[in-house]
Symmetry: C2
Subunit: 351 residues, 2 copies
């Protein structure tokens, strides 16, 4: 059996969409159990929606949940009664194998780090996701866990991306740095410095700077950026895809003369949607945490929630979080990153 | 007559696409003249493509041009023989009414400021463009002229955006700040500070933070951001639109069973392309310069170049640059911005 703790509270659409998505997962995957930390007043709704599968559902009592508008640090004070805390604690206590949360991202980062702990040789955990491209999906990180970054932190991110991709079976993952131009002279200092340092590393297949418009070429396995730019690039992508799909649907609706070919066109549009829809990509992974924690968008609907649940299930089955953490801890021993950077800087004083 | 100086050198596809676009503009707009600063070796090609319209074309000799890979500061040393310098100088000397350049953006910013001068009460000129949305186009700035910004500079950008939109006839333009969340507590310090200050201003219809996925809603007239994030958001948008349109075209090609309805679909796709293609939006405006200067993408093809030329022509005809500059100089007298900010900060010590 595999157990997922679902923090279903705090999403824009209420917990109902989460319960429906849980029902679907329980139907599709008969070896899955779900833990639901819920305030008592919400439990009857969950019980009703999940009634066929109650033998594989366990409610955990909690007092309240963090709101989207709450400051993340609120969550650290008297957090033990919060649904998010209860979900994370269940992983710590060995009751669940992973967490999916729809709640406040900042609070999730803080609580996950406090309750589950993070990698010793990583300054801070990060948020990552995979985006669709013309070719293979691209891993993008950070997405908002760390708004401002130093060049050393960007390098850590590159190493973490390599570790995650290798844990997934990629032998020599290609990594780029998001920047405003491809020439080494372009961009802010901290990115140029990170680029120079990564060029000198033999343990990262670093492919240089990548501009926003080349992210979707399908050539790279990962693109590294600070959390502010990453968040903006990701959300811009989401908004634009949503709009363009709507636009095509509207064009479809207006083309009455298409007659019998309309269903064919709807099918073509669905195929496009399947290729590009961010919902299909299962949410953001908290990387660098000692445990499998995934965050789904606050505005997730049932479909998005369902993909996110499937994603968590897949991550748990593959043991990827553990593989990633073992690889990272083993390969980049505490202090080795900054030590090796310093050595390289000293031996290349002209740069 | 209206005269445009075209700096056609340095683009990825060579000057031929620029000459062809000039030919089209000269054909469509019989009151337009074009000045072309060109190295002597390139003039025969231009003369051949433009042969029907040579009475409205003037070649200006230059020695060389700035390459995309050159550091912008190169352009400041011995610049007088550069095509970009000759184009800008022709505006300064009253020979041309505006400039379109495909060259190195950084160099264009530096040279435009040196040759034409910039607004007294603006710390630095900025790059702006209009993006398509679900509704009215949105003015986005900065796009890379200033990578790092202070909260005061972000406020200046908001004022400049208001001035530009008012110069275009918008009575009460709605302005937002690009950020990673909509709550006032979200984002880096400089953005939160700019948000607080703009909230207190009565001369800006400030609508708060806007996330990347809400940029395309068509509700705002302008979105303000630092040059690094703006550049990344813009290029992400461009790359994504390009990919999605390709994807739709591929789906079209594969659907052989569509038969007679294929042309209808091609037409639908062209309508979508017309609504969303960044090429239609005429390039980036250098705002805050004493003169009309527009930059088109280094990878511009003939179509992109053509739209950019039409855009410059329209900008010159409307006298928008002068209206913008007059409004900005009059409304925000030198020192008034920082002065008023200080006053506001002092009178609101609790914030």
């Amino acid at each position: 059996m595999l157990t997922i703790a679902v923090d279903a509270m705090g999403g824009d659409l209420g917990p109902r969409v989460a319960f429906k998505a849980c029902k679907r997962l329980l139907k599709d995957q008969s070896d899955v159990q779900i833990l639901l930390p819920l305030e008592p007043s919400v439990q009857p709704l969950a019980a009703q929606i999940l009634k066929r599968y109650l033998s594989r559902v366990q409610f955990l009592n909690c007092d309240s949940h963090i709101k989207m508008s709450d400051h993340p640090k609120h969550a650290l004070r008297n957090s033990s009664g919060l649904s998010m805390h209860v979900a994370l604690q269940s992983v710590k206590d060995g009751l669940a194998d992973g967490v999916l949360s729809v709640g406040n991202t900042g609070a999730l980062l803080l609580l996950a780090r406090r309750i589950l702990g993070s990698l010793d040789n990583l300054s801070r955990p990060v948020l990552a996701t995979q985006l669709p491209t013309r070719g293979k999906p691209i891993l993008m990180m950070d997405l908002g866990a760390n708004l401002a970054m130093t060049s050393e932190q960007l390098q850590e991110l590159a190493l973490l991306a390599v570790a995650w991709l290798k844990a997934g079976g990629e032998e020599n993952p290609a990594v780029g740095l998001l920047n405003i131009g491809s020439e080494p002279s372009k961009g802010p200092d901290f990115i140029r410095e990170a680029g120079e340092a990564l060029t000198r590393r033999t343990d990262v297949n670093y492919c240089g700077f990548v501009e926003g418009d080349r992210m979707f070429d399908g050539v790279l396995d990962a693109v590294i950026c600070d959390g502010y730019s990453g968040n903006i690039a990701l959300k811009t992508t989401e908004g634009l895809i949503e709009w363009l799909l709507d636009l095509m649907t509207t064009e479809l609706g207006q083309s009455k003369s298409l007659g019998w070919s309309l269903p064919l066109w709807r099918a073509a549009l669905r195929r496009v949607d399947r290729k590009v829809s961010p919902a299909r990509y299962g949410g953001a992974i908290l990387m660098g945490i000692n445990g499998c924690v995934v965050k789904t968008h606050g505005k997730s609907d049932e479909r998005t929630f369902r993909y996110a649940l499937e994603y968590v299930s897949e991550q748990i089955r593959s043991g990827r979080t553990k593989k990633l953490n073992d690889f990272y801890q083993k390969t980049y021993a505490v202090g080795s990153l900054s030590a090796s950077i310093n050595v390289q800087l000293v031996t290349n004083p002209s740069q």
